[in-house]
Symmetry: C2
Subunit: 84 residues, 2 copies
């Protein structure tokens, strides 16, 4: 069994209005030292072992469904774990 | 300057309907080996150095604004970096 952590972030060149709002809220809570906030998604997938190559499978999941690769970047970490 | 990565996930006991939908979509794309999907948020904050303790400040930001601690868990990593 694999535990896969996927991080999806907006590309640097894409505006992040949600992040801008959160930054404003942090400033109004008196955290004026916050210079920038970028908001992305984080997913944890639990995947069974198959004959398929796990790395290629996760890459395909990201490209076909999880990330919008026009405006988002993705990266992932794969951990193999023993089912209890 | 600090770069802070914040990971916000739903608590284990909380249902994740969005994750269930993504799992269904992955199955319909023929990724039947996916057992579970949990979706959370990922934030990158850029924070200036101040007299305030950075760890305590980030913890307070999470508890007061970024995470809903009733249903969500959070963890964060703080990296110190040199402004270029």
């Amino acid at each position: 069994m694999y535990k896969v952590k996927v991080y999806i972030t907006l590309r640097e060149s894409v505006l992040d209005p949600q992040g801008t709002v959160v930054k404003g809220s942090l400033h109004s809570l008196d955290f004026n030292e916050v210079q920038d906030v970028r908001i992305g998604k984080y997913m944890e997938l639990t995947i069974d072992k198959t004959d398929r190559d796990i790395d290629a499978a996760v890459k395909e999941m990201c490209e076909r469904l999880l990330a919008n690769i026009v405006i988002e970047d993705y990266r992932y970490e794969i951990e193999e774990c023993v089912a209890l």
